[in-house]
Amino acid sequence: MQGTLMDQGLELMLFGMGTVLAFLSVLVLSITLMSWILARYFPVVEMPQGSGASPGRPPVGVLESPAEDARLIAVISAAIHRHRSKKSQ
């Protein structure tokens, strides 16, 4: 690169910013294309992994069976009952 220091700086800025933008634009295109190709031609059978959720363990709040559900409700209502009766004393 020739010219005064200032010119060099300007040149570096134009080329640099231009390259960064161009590169990332191409990357955006390639990502979109990649996702489209993968979704179109290689659809996944497995459950898509959400971020953070570990496979193999049911998420918190989902219960295994209705029977357990009923038991849990019983336990909770007993606890609430007890708490209220304590408070009213």
Binding site: M1, T4, L5, M6, Q8, G9, L10, L12, M13, F15, G16, M17, T19, V20, L21, F23, L24, S25, V26, L27, V28, S30, I31, T32, M34, S35, L38, A39, F42, V44, E46, P48, Q49, G50, S51
Partner: protein, 434 residues
């Protein structure tokens, strides 16, 4: 009595000069900030301690063998050294070393052979520095570890956020301009390579900044690394005022649509796509992004968990220790305390502020003209500083709207910023260094 005098002359107090004292205080300040205030302790503890070690008077831990000889050898050896270097005076250690630095490879070898024979050796920190930073290895290994820690999911779900990562790199180039401007009006004295290395601070990416300055401006490395890491630690303080100033209350409240789930396959293919693009378009960014992609592939492939664990765990920790101590070794008073350092610290924070601002501004633009709502606060995460910048976006968003969780959305621009600053680094190296 003579022995006692000798011991006294050898002691730290007798040899201490003003600069070393100041630098030791700066080292203690860094330690205080790291331990008491929790600023980037993983880096500032080694850097601060390295800085103190480097300034211990008479120990010469951060000096090469020739420098140690120039400061501590007896007159006979100094005379010999001056003869080899072809200069007259043997009194001034700095002049002696300057002559050494300016001389050719053959003379250098002769000189270092001479001092080695006389029993002078490279200081411990100097060796750490040569192995980890001067060779360029440490930043690259850290990049591999960062790759192994990075989840590209949010970016893949919303690729548009890459543009935010690009916009934030404007800070880098604006600062280059600022540095050459200061030089052209005569306040500072930076070459175009120096200016490029200083600008990279605006990328808010420690390893990238160290990598670039070790190639383009090794003599400024200490100041640049300290500036880069301290500003990374200051992200939660520097960014929010800028973010608030540039956005309206309503914009800060914008809730974004939930990201689509990303399949494992996309995550595995992505590092390869990125690597191919780098290989085709910008080989000078290949060392940084290559290691980054490699680390990410180790993580996402799911078949080499042991390697992935090593890369993001013990290996990155080991390298961080040596990197920190080596950066600290650049805090030698003779090299650190000058006006250029002040200039670097000042320019660095400007770089950072401009990067933050341009990210936010582009995000505002994208929100105005895009089809889906986009909270401008995530634009500031386009400066790298993973994951701190994303957390800041999240925090400022929560202040405006307690139900607005921007963290995952901000991770997209955040990792885009890492890619963006590595690309900017590649451009700098190929335009200026070549």
């Amino acid at each position: 009595m003579g022995n006692f005098l000798n011991l006294w002359r050898d002691s730290g107090i007798a040899q201490m000069d003003m600069g070393q004292g100041i630098m030791i205080l700066i080292g203690l300040l860094l330690l205080y900030l790291a331990i008491r205030k929790g600023f980037e302790p993983l880096l500032l503890v080694p850097i601060g301690f390295g800085g103190i070690l480097a300034n211990i008077p008479g120990a010469g831990l951060a000096y090469s063998a020739v420098e140690n000889a120039a400061y501590g050898a007896d007159p006979a050896l100094l005379g010999e050294l001056a003869r080899i270097l072809g200069i007259e005076s043997t009194e001034n250690a700095k002049a002696l070393f300057a002559a050494y630095a300016a001389s050719g490879a053959q003379v250098k070898m002769l000189a270092s052979q001479l001092v080695n024979d006389a029993g002078f050796h490279d200081g411990m920190l100097y060796i750490f520095y040569s192995v980890s930073i001067a060779s360029g290895v440490a930043p690259l290994v850290i990049f591999m570890g960062v790759g192994a820690m990075t989840d590209f999911g949010p970016l893949l779900a919303n690729p548009k956020t890459l543009f935010l990562g690009a916009a934030a790199q404007f800070g880098i180039f604006a600062t280059v301009l600022g540095a050459v401007y200061l030089t052209s009006i005569g306040i500072m004295d930076f070459s175009i390579a120096d200016a490029a290395a200083i600008g990279i601070i605006g990328g808010a990416d420690g390893p990238t900044a160290i990598y670039v300055s070790s190639i383009l401006a090794p003599d400024l490395l200490g100041a640049i690394a300290v500036a880069a890491y301290s500003y990374m630690a200051l992200v939660p303080m520097i960014q929010p005022p800028i973010m608030r100033a540039l956005t309206t209350e309503a914009e800060r409240k914008i809730e974004m649509v939930q990201l689509r789930p990303v399949t494992t396959r996309e995550k595995i293919v992505f590092p390869m796509v990125l690597l191919l693009l780098v290989a085709f378009l910008l080989p000078s960014a290949a060392p940084l992004l290559g290691m980054f992609c490699f680390g990410n592939l180790l993580k996402e492939s799911g078949v080499v968990d042991r390697l992935s664990d090593a890369a993001q765990g013990s290996l990155i920790n080991i390298v961080t220790i040596f990197l920190g101590l080596s950066v600290g070794s650049k805090l030698v008073a003779a090299k650190f305390l000058d006006t250029n350092t002040l200039g670097i610290l000042g320019l660095g924070i400007i770089a950072f502020a401009i990067g933050t601002a341009s990210g936010v501004l582009l995000a505002k633009l994208m929100n105005k003209f895009g089809s889906t709502p986009l909270n401008p606060l995530i634009g500031s995460a386009g400066v790298s500083a993973v994951p701190m910048a994303a957390r800041v976006s999240n925090k400022v968003g929560l202040e405006a709207n307690p139900h607005n969780f921007l963290l995952m959305h901000a991770m997209g621009p955040n990792v885009a910023g890492v890619i963006g600053s590595a690309v900017a680094a590649g451009v700098m190296i190929s335009l200026v260094g070549g």
